[in-house]
């Protein structure tokens, strides 16, 4: 079975090199990209490579199954640049996507075909309520992502800053629970509440900086730096000017 599949993939590759018009079906293109970039960790049919027993020694397990994760998860991981991941034992970090939009579309369609799974969500933050969003965000998200979405530390990983997260990506992350993040279903967090959270995160990207320069919106650490590196330096400089007495 596996061998035949490998042959099929190989054939597809050769075929692809031979003539472009043969790649009419997006699925074919997706399959080809998948085989080259993803199958090593996720298995050739997205069945995943499950954790081996810790006693077996060496590296144990590589990638989760993709059957039933749907277009949602594939879209999230590919568009955030989380996947493909060079070292499967490291936390994926946001980077420039490795594929073009068209390639991602093809891959997403291909991964979605592994089983029935959720489609790419279509959040409507314009229907959300920012105030409700702040309350929900504080309750569910601020512990890791910091109350203004600047990201944070948790033992074993980093909760990324939400500065670059698009509304769709936020919705996807909430539903998929990437890496160490909890996964919120529609019963745990209905779509309407999710819309409010996204509305708040969008607002928090440009928070109300009525006080002036926002210095990162993470509170006392940059404030202390300003105190010492700006105020203290200027005032000590003033003291030096005053203290050095003219002739």
């Amino acid at each position: 079975m596996r061998r035949t599949l490998a042959i099929v993939i190989l054939a597809a590759l050769v075929f692809g090199a031979g003539g472009a018009q043969a790649q009419q079906s997006a699925n074919g293109k997706g399959a080809r990209l998948y085989a080259v970039n993803c199958s090593m960790c996720h298995g050739d049919r997205g069945q995943g490579i499950q954790p081996a027993r810790p006693t077996s020694g060496g590296r144990i397990g590589l990638g989760p199954s993709l059957q039933g994760v749907g277009a949602l998860a594939a879209d999230f991981y590919l568009r955030t640049g989380y996947m493909p991941l060079l070292d499967p034992y490291k936390q994926p970090r946001r980077s420039r996507p490795s594929f073009t939009d068209a390639q991602i579309d093809a891959l997403v369609a291909y991964v979605a075909s592994f089983g029935t799974g959720p489609a790419i969500p279509q959040p409507q933050p314009e229907n959300g309520n920012v105030a409700a969003g702040l309350r929900l965000f504080t309750q569910h998200c601020a512990g890791c992502h910091q109350v203004v979405g600047q990201g944070g530390f948790l033992t074993g990983g980093v909760a990324p800053s939400l500065k670059d997260a698009t509304p769709v990506q936020i919705a996807e992350a909430v539903r998929a629970g990437p890496y160490l993040m909890p996964r919120f279903s529609e019963t745990a967090l209905p779509d309407a509440e999710l819309d409010s959270i996204i509305a708040y995160v969008e607002q928090a990207k440009r928070p109300d900086d009525r006080g002036g320069w926002g210095i990162g919106h993470i509170g006392p650490i940059p404030e202390g730096m300003i105190t010492w590196f700006l105020a203290a330096v200027v005032l000590v400089g003033t003291c030096v000017v005053i203290g050095r007495r003219g002739s």
Partner: protein
């Protein structure tokens, strides 16, 4: 006009001889002698802006629902205290400027005290007859830190609530009496009796400022009574003070420095956002945010709390030392005990009980400089450890690796600093001696 004013005052107070003396009081010249003045002027700005804020702040934990102009908080449950701070920031014209200036002034106030303390320490200005002045200064530093913590806490935003929780846990952790002390202060288990807010408020706006103000007065009186210290020079000696008189030389300098402090604080208050409590949201016991930090002057304590490994010291079922005690209470106690006992320690080890009006240069007392630098480094490393989580988020350096590194470096680096500082001081002194010999030889030749 001047003559009339002076006559008026003299005839009513008999103060003319005193005025004359005050105008001719001498200020020795060095830029580092002005650091204490910076602290004093920051305190003046603090009091002025603080009084303004009390006209609008409501120290009440009564629950209310926000219906103001800031959309993300609309409909949120909060205390009157928090709401009034949001209103100061949004509704009261110039309120945000004054609030931010007040907060910056607090950060600068304590920074200036620390700089001033470093100057006093490394030049040996704390020696007899000025040790009492030094103790009063240290006491003011303690009060100032407590005062800042209370101000940070009163706003009742998410960060202040978390800060209070930690303060509560540290007080609870005091061996034998912690729980009783916590009840005495909070009135009930956290978040405490509603009266706790009144207690914080009166302490923040009255008791501590009055204490600090009174100590400032005594501090300055003592300075004036014994006159300033000075560095050795051709004219300056242990018996003769050389300096610029209060008037006309020093007055425009001091007024100029005051204006400069006010300028920096108001500019920062208007242009650089500090503690935007509307972004943090109100505090509720069940809520917390990542990356919460205290103001810089308590950063050394959060570092120490995080560096401690997981254990409570227990004897049977009796918990002798709960964990937060080490970092939150014992660590600052050791640092302040060191600072308070240093004049005595130095007398003890050098046998020097003499009067000192002349200052040492740091190199003149290698042991003092080395030990002071080592303790400073120790505190500084623990302080930096408090931001390890943010360093991980920004730079990707493993938090756990950082923690272990700091646990080791906090002991190793101060030792290295101690040796290096002592060596440098001795080298510098040797260089001075060579130079002096050369000059003497030249003069003789």
């Amino acid at each position: 006009m001047i003559r009339r004013t002076v006559s008026f005052l003299d005839e009513r107070t008999g103060g003319a001889p005193l005025f004359r003396k005050a105008l001719r009081y001498l200020f020795p010249d060095n830029w580092s002698f002005l650091l204490g003045e910076v602290a004093l002027y920051a305190f003046v700005v603090l009091v002025a802006t603080g009084v303004y804020l009390t006209l609008f702040f409501d120290p009440s934990t009564a629950p209310t629902v926000y219906h103001g102009s800031y959309e993300p908080l609309r409909g949120s449950e909060m205390t009157r205290a928090y709401q009034s701070v949001v209103d100061i920031s949004f509704k009261v014209k110039a309120g945000l400027l004054i609030r931010q200036t007040h907060h910056w002034a607090a950060d600068v106030f304590i920074a200036a005290i620390v700089l001033h303390l470093m100057r006093i320490f490394f030049t040996g200005a704390f020696r007899k007859p000025r040790d009492l002045t030094y103790y009063i200064g240290l006491t003011m530093l303690l009060f100032a830190i407590l005062e800042g913590y209370l101000g940070y806490s009163l706003a009742d935003d998410l960060l202040s609530g978390m800060g209070l929780a930690i303060g509560y846990a540290v007080l609870m952790s005091v061996p034998f009496v912690g729980a009783n002390l916590a009840l005495l202060v909070w009135g009930a288990p956290f978040p405490g009796d509603p009266a706790f807010w009144s207690r914080m408020y009166i302490a923040h706006v009255f008791i501590l400022p009055v204490l600090i103000g009174a100590l400032v007065g005594v501090h300055l009186l003592l300075v004036a009574a014994r006159h300033h210290t000075q560095f050795r020079s051709a004219r300056a000696s242990e018996r003769v003070v050389v300096g610029v008189p209060t008037f006309p030389g020093q007055t425009p300098r001091s007024l100029g420095l005051f204006s400069a402090v006010a300028a920096v604080l108001f500019l920062m208050g208007g242009l650089i956002q500090i503690n935007p409590i509307w972004l943090w949201g109100p505090f509720h016991v069940a809520q917390a945010t990542n990356g919460a930090q205290p103001d810089w002057y308590l950063g050394w304590l959060i570092g120490a709390l995080r560096l401690m490994p997981s254990f409570d010291v227990t004897v049977g079922n009796y918990t002798l030392v709960p964990n937060p005690f080490w970092g939150g209470a014992l660590f600052p106690l050791i640092v302040f005990a060191f600072l308070f006992s240093w004049p005595w320690l130095e007398r003890r080890f050098t046998g020097d009980h003499a009067f000192h009006n002349l200052l040492d240069r740091p190199r003149d007392s290698p042991w003092r400089t080395a030990i002071g630098m080592a303790v400073l480094t120790w505190v500084f490393i623990v302080f930096v450890a408090g931001s390890a989580d943010r360093v991980y988020v920004f730079v990707g350096l493993s938090y756990n690796a950082q923690l272990w590194a700091y646990r080791i470096l906090a002991w190793v680096i101060p030792l290295l600093v101690l040796l290096a500082a002592k060596r440098i001081c001795e080298e510098l002194r040797a260089g001075d001696r060579v130079e002096a010999d050369r000059k003497a030889a030249e003069a003789a030749g």
